[in-house]
Every structure is written in C-alpha cells, then in structure tokens.
C-alpha cells in the first residue's frame, strides 16, 4: 500500500471525535388511542451530526419519549423498514446522516404518504404489498426442469440487474403524486418488480405481466415525475424501468 494512502488514512483517523450539535427534530405524531388528530412535536437533541436520523429517533424513544413509534431493523439500508418523509423527501432514516440535512433548521420527520397512518411513523403496508403480489413477482417457466442451473449470459443477467436491488421499502411508491391521488395505481415498486421478471431471459410470463400492467391502474398512469427515482434509497432508476415496461407494452418486445 502506498505511503500516500497510509498518510491519508492516518490523517482521517486523527480527526477529532465529532463534536455534538444541538438539533431540533420536528416529528409528526399520531396515536388514535390518544387523539384522532395528528400534530407536530419538537424534540431537541445533543447529537453527533455524523449519526443517522434513525439514531436520533432512537435517542428520542430511549431517552425522552418511549411512545414514539417507528419501524426499523437492520439499520443500514438493507431491510427497507424505515422509509419516512424527512425534510419533505422520502428516505430511509438509517441511510440519512444528520449532517446532510442542514441541522441548523428543524429537521421534519413524518410518515410516508398515501398509505393509511396507524401510529406516528407507522403506516399500513398491506396495500403496498398487495400491489406487489398482483404483478406475479416470481419466475415462471414451462417444460421440464433442467438437472443443472438454467444458463444465462452475463449480459442477459445484467439486463435486469438494477431492478433486483429493490428492498420493498415503499419510498418510491409513497413519493408518487399519482399514488397519493389514487391508491388503486400499482405504483412504482410493483412495476419495478414486474420489470425484474419481464426482462429476465429465463422467464416466460412477460406477456401476462404486461397485460396486468396494461390495466387502467397500471403503467400508463405514470406521469414521469421522477419522484420515485429520486426517492429510491437503492439508486434504482425507477422511472427508466417504468419507461422500459411502457415501451415493451407498445413494441411487445422485451
């Protein structure tokens, strides 16, 4: 390893331990056991700006108010539990660092939109998963199974790589204005997962999935707003995937 690299690493490691800052978290609270009305509540925290928003939520829950309710599990952007609206934009709380949010101003945190609010930052995920299940999100093949693996070229595998990354967090679907207005729309995440199979060279149900998405609540509802692409914490080019499905519907080639 070059000494330049060592020096750089050394310098980085010698940076002082982060200083704490005071930040205000303005959280949209809702608990129907207490009140039918949702309301904003401010919490002031002394916190390291390199921490995640999830760390701030934990600090509030563990140290200040145990009733604050949110979902989380892996805490590093893989499980998809903690999508929420942070400063007006859908993100994962565990992948958003406080320093990247302009912590001089109050940081707003609220539940994702378009799904029924159950408590604080928790929404009913069932309609979201139902839309996913409706697009046949599984490999369909016919004929006898081969004894070994099905062959697939690296290029064919690459064709749908982007959409295999989806973690079903709903950040995209709940950022879509069409979905907000009409919950019947399949939404970006379901289309992404249809894309993942439509463009898989091993799959034989592309036509069926396209017919499902040709529905009035299907892919044509997309108005190419790009909110979904911006919201995706996995960096999936969601809008592009939707466009590819639209094109496949017109050309019937995929």
């Amino acid at each position: 390893m070059s000494s330049a690299v060592m020096d750089k690493a050394e310098a980085e490691a010698k940076q002082p331990a982060s200083h704490l800052i005071t930040a205000t978290f303005r959280i949209r609270r809702f608990n129907p056991e207490v009140s039918e009305e949702a309301s904003w509540e401010d919490f002031q925290l002394e916190i390291d700006p390199k921490e995640r928003v999830l760390d701030a939520l934990h600090q509030i829950k563990w140290e200040i108010d145990g009733t604050l309710t949110f979902r989380r599990s892996c805490a590093h952007g893989i499980c998809g539990s903690d999508a929420m609206r942070i400063n007006g934009r859908n993100r994962l709380a565990c992948k958003t660092l406080i320093k990247d949010l302009n912590p001089d101003q109050p940081i707003t945190v609220e539940a994702i939109k378009g799904l029924t609010l159950l408590k604080d930052l928790v929404v009913d995920m069932e309609p979201f998963f139902q839309a996913y299940r409706d697009v046949m999100p599984f490999l369909v093949t016919s004929g006898n199974e081969p004894t070994r693996e099905r062959l697939q070229s690296a290029e064919d595998r690459e064709r749908f790589d982007d959409t295999t990354k989806c973690i079903l967090c709903a950040a995209c679907t709940s950022s879509c204005p069409v979905f907000w207005n009409d919950g019947q729309y399949f939404g970006p995440a379901a289309i992404v997962n249809a894309h993942r199979f439509i463009f898989d060279s091993r799959d034989e149900a592309g036509e069926q999935r396209l017919e499902i998405l040709n529905d009035k609540d299907g892919v044509w509802r997309c108005r190419t707003v790009f909110n979904c692409t911006e919201a995706c914490p996995r960096g999936i080019e969601v809008t592009k995937a939707i466009q590819e499905v639209k094109r496949a519907l017109i050309t019937r080639r995929f």
């Binding site: 490691a13 805490a75 893989i78 159950l118 999100p137 199974e145 693996e149 062959l151 595998r157 091993r202």
Partner: protein, 584 residues
C-alpha cells in the same frame, strides 16, 4: 381470546422460515408468524455468498467442503450433519436458481463462484472458488427469491406477530407440541396458534453485543422461549466475530471483499495475516482473522489516534471490479464513513456476527429435549438452531447454505409429522405466561429503563465475552448479568397503549437477551479450553480430552423460585475425520 388452528406453524420469515414454508405448505396447512414483514429479515443483510461445490469454475467436490466445514468448526462439528450440508449444498443452490435467484454468471452462463474464508481445495492446499454469489447481495437475493416463491405458492403470513411462548402439553409421559402464543403488534392482542408441528426459524441473538452486525430485532426470541420451557440450548459459548465490521458501527463488510483480493493492513501498512496464516492469509477462518486483528491492536499496531482498528484495503483493485462485485459495501463506506474505497482504505474492527449455538436439533430438524430425544412436533432451523454444522466457528457462506438445507429439511419433516399426528390439547390457561409478562410490563411503575439495562448488558458483553475471554472476565460478566436481571425486574415502559407498542416489545426483547447472555457467559466460563470462536487466555489450547463435547445448558427453577443454569454435555459425532491441529 382468539385461537387459530393450523397443521404447521413456522416462527420467523427469514431464509430458514420461508424455505421451510415452501416445503411444508405443499402438504400441510401452514402459517408463518413473523415479528417483521417477510422481506425485512436479516437474511437480507448477508452479502458474500452461499457455498456449494458446483465446480463451475475449478475442480471442487463436496467432500472437500465437508472437511473444510469440520476443520473450520475446530472439530466440534457433528460430522454426519456437515456431510449432509455439503452434499445437499449443490441441489440447494440449483433449487434457488430454478426458483429465480439471479446469481452472477460465468462467461459460459453457469453460476459464478468466488473464494471465501476457510474454503479450500484438497483439504487446505489453497483457496477454492466455492461461493455462489449475486454481487454482495446474495442474502438479499435469497430472501427476495424465497418470498417471491411463497407468494407464488400462496403461503399464509401473519406479519408483525411476535411469538412469545411455546406451548407443550404432556401426554403419555411425553411433552408434545401444542402450538405457540403470539402478540399481535398492531392490536396488542394475545392470540393462540394451535398446531401439530411448529418450526422455530426466528434467527440469532447478536444484539447482546454493542458492536454487532446484527439487526436491532435479533434478540433470540426463539432460543429464550425454548429455554423457558425447559429445553436445552447447545454450544451458546460459541459466538462468531466477523473480522470486518465498519469501525465502531459494526456494519458488515463482506469477506467477499477479501475473496476478491482485499487485504488487511495494520498501521505500518503491513499485510499482517501473512504472519498468522501463511497459506490462506486474509482468507483464514473468521475466528483466526478476528483474533489476529485484536492481537495487532493490543500490540500497538492498530490504526488511528487510538490505535483501535485496522484497515481493509481495496485500493489496488480496479474500480470496475468493486462496482461489479462489491457495490453495496463500497456504498456503505461512502455513506457511513465518507470514505472512497477506490482510493482510501476502510477502517474496520471485528463485529459480533453469528451464534453458532442455539436450540439443539438432529439432522431432520427435530428439536431435542436432551442429548437424543426429540420433542414430538417441534422443529428448528437456521441461526436459532444448532444442528451442529458450524461447531466452534462457522465458515463464511455456510449460513446461507444452512438455512436452505436445514430449512428445507425442517419444513418437509414438520409437514410429514403433521400429516400423521393429531392435535394435542392446549395446556391449561395457555396464554397465562404471556399475559402476565405483557400486563406486568405495561402496568409496571419501576424506576429502571430498558435503554440503561441494554446498554450495560452490551458493555459487559463487549468487554468480557468478546474475542478474548478469561475466567476473570467471564466471572465479571456472569455477575453483572445477574445484577442486570435483578434490575430488569424493576423496569417500566412509557407506552401503556395497545397499538404498535414497540416500547413494550423492546422490553420483552431485552428480557430474552438477558436470559441468553447469561447462558452464553456461564457456558463460556465452564469451557476451560480454546476452540474456534471461544478463546480463553487462561486456557489457550484446545483440549480434546476434556472438551471435545457440546455444551447443553438448561434453565432450572428451584422450589424457592431461584433460577440457575445447569450444564450438561453431549458427545460430538465423528465419522471419518480425526481432529488435527488447525492451521491456515
């Protein structure tokens, strides 16, 4: 009280649970109860791959894989089980491919394979390409693929149902499986699920350490329920510390990074693993590498102002290779550390990763109530279980394999059992234990907080039960855990509501962690030798004469209500491999 009735109940919707459900639901009316939504499980965080001797890219066979697994586990592995694991690995991977899993491909279009720690050609000659992978997202792909196939088969799920108790009813002098009790997080209702067979697949318990790769939700709920019901836990002293967690955070950076050519370096830039493992170097088994890292740190060769970490160096690898093979972990370095892995080495330290121990089962997945006797109708698979295929130290890529091989086996066996069995009567007042627990916590007015006790538990575990242990540290841990258990009785929660009471949930989870931490420390104290992931500074050598045996820990409650851990032992199954000194 709502009582559901299914032939088979599966507890947990990670890899093992869903693999079991895919089998059992074909022949048995099955429901999966899961604390999280199915795709949230920590199987999804596994990165590097799944081992199978496909021999797609170079010569390999399952016998070599068997040997590596047994050697990797420092000969505490049950050799009959390891042989099944390695043999069935091949079909397991092929099954997943047929279910749709998008593996990386070779130029020929077959499943690509790469190197991983402890996997070797011909009994240790050199590293071998055995890990079948999908970039550094193999666990994610497995979890998605299994869920997709559950959707295809119409498997029934109860999402956000937290299983808090196992129901066993004595009949003809034998305790048999009657079902489970679950807490519906959304409503706060306690519900009974009667079943002929139950499969526990509820995952690990790594959250009793502070620096941990584990999800917040990995709190050993299945192990703790079994222990409370008088079932043993096997080999709980064996916990794996993964060498490369992100410094201070513990987030996993796959061993695949070293499989792709990444190198560990100390403050002088030295490739120190050459000293500790001349043949396998950075790809020695995880226990060996983790100890090497801490030895470097202890001897003053750690990096940074506090010399408390080392570097994972990927800077010599082409950016295209990092993008194609390790996209997620390089992004973790950028997101959480602000480091560019193309040009900068990544600060790492060992992170608590995997419980080798758990609920003892035989190779059919049947849970054992002692060294040999199965509990009729009860099964376990995955990290919650101890078959034991991992022995004293699990090889990387063998856990994604374990969940598929033994998840499948447990699912088949549970459905078969349900097909020929009658429902067992529920025990009297089946929800009493859970109701008491939940109500006591909700009504409690104690002065102790969950966060303080959990923090203290994690501190003592990190300090005393980590990579280096001794009688002194373990005694300290046992004593402190005992104190924390007393403090836990004086706990209270702020949220008194029914709906989505995660405050209450965390308190229940902490109770489980405390129980399991005690078993871990007590088991470790009694094992006066060093083997695999269990290293005793006061007994630095392996002692096959006295300790070539599995620990079986039981919880006992005396007439006066005092609780204690009783340790028993079980012989290791040895078939064709004689224990040898382990060198990499």
């Amino acid at each position: 009280m709502k009582i559901h009735k299914y032939d088979t109940i599966i507890v947990g919707a990670g890899g093992a649970g869903m693999r079991a459900a895919i089998e059992s639901s074909k022949n048995s009316r099955t429901a999966v109860l899961t604390k999280l939504y199915p795709t949230r499980s920590h199987t999804g965080a596994a990165q590097g791959g799944m081992a199978a001797a496909l021999a797609n890219v170079e010569e390999d066979n399952w016998e070599w894989h068997t040997f590596d697994t047994i050697k990797g586990g420092d000969y505490l592995v049950d050799q009959d089980a390891a042989e099944i694991l390695a043999k069935e690995a091949i079909d397991s991977v092929l099954d997943l491919e047929k279910m749709g899993l998008p593996f990386n491909r070779t130029p020929d279009g077959t499943i690509d394979q790469r190197r991983f720690g402890g996997h070797s050609r011909n009994h240790g000659e050199a590293p071998v390409r055995r890990s079948c992978y999908a970039a550094d997202r193999t666990g994610h792909m497995i979890l998605q693929t299994l869920y997709q196939n559950c959707v295809k088969q119409g498997v029934e799920f109860y999402n956000e149902f937290y299983v808090l108790d196992l129901l066993l009813t004595e009949k003809d002098g034998v305790r048999r499986t009657a079902g489970v009790v679950a807490y519906d997080l959304a409503s706060g209702e306690i519900q009974v699920f009667r079943a002929k067979s139950v499969v526990f697949a509820s995952g690990g318990n790594g959250k009793f350490f502070k620096v941990s790769s584990n999800a917040h939700t990995l709190t050993g709920d299945g192990q703790a329920a079994a222990l409370r019901r008088g079932l043993p836990l096997e080999d709980m002293e064996f916990f794996q510390f993964h060498p490369t967690g992100i410094w201070k955070m513990g987030i996993l950076l796959t061993e695949g990074a070293r499989g792709e050519g990444g190198i560990l370096r100390n403050r002088d830039g030295e490739r120190f693993m050459e000293t500790y493992a001349p043949v396998m170097k950075d790809l020695a088994s995880r226990d060996v590498v983790s100890r090497a890292i801490y030895t470097e740190i202890r001897e003053g060769r750690g990096c940074g102002a506090d010399k408390d970490h080392v570097f994972l160096d990927l800077t010599h690898l082409p950016p295209e290779q990092l993008d194609a093979k390790l996209p997620d972990i390089t992004e973790f370095a950028r997101t959480y550390l602000g480091i560019e892995p193309y040009t900068d080495p990544i600060p790492i330290q060992p992170t608590a990763h995997y419980a080798m121990g758990g609920i003892p089962t035989n190779v059919e997945g049947e849970v054992l109530s002692d060294n040999t006797t199965p509990v009729p109708g009860l099964y376990a698979a995955g990290e919650v279980a101890c078959v034991s295929v991992h022995g004293a130290n699990r090889l990387g890529t063998n856990s994604l394999l374990d969940i598929n091989v033994f998840g499948r086996r447990a699912g088949i066996a549970a459905a078969e059992y349900a097909g020929g069995a009658e429902f067992v009567e529920l025990p009297e007042d089946p929800t009493r234990f859970v109701e008491d627990e939940v109500e006591n916590l909700r009504d409690a007015t104690g002065t102790e907080r969950v966060v303080d006790i959990r923090r203290a538990l994690q501190q003592t575990m990190d300090k005393n039960v980590m990579v280096f242990r001794s009688e002194q540290t373990l005694k300290e841990a046992v004593e402190q855990i005992g104190d924390l258990r007393k403090r836990y009785k004086n706990i209270s929660v702020q949220d008194k509501g029914k709906r989505f009471n995660t405050d209450l949930l965390e308190a229940l989870e902490l109770g489980n962690l405390l129980d399991l931490a005690e078993v871990t420390a007590v088991s470790a104290l009694a094992r006066k030798e060093s083997r695999g992931g269990h290293y005793r500074e006061d007994f630095p050598d392996r002692d096959d004469v006295n300790f070539m045996r599995h620990t079986m820990a039981f919880r006992e409650v005396g007439d006066d209500g005092t609780e204690s851990i009783r340790l028993d032992y079980k012989p290791v199954v040895q078939t064709r491999y004689q224990p040898m000194e382990r060198k990499y």
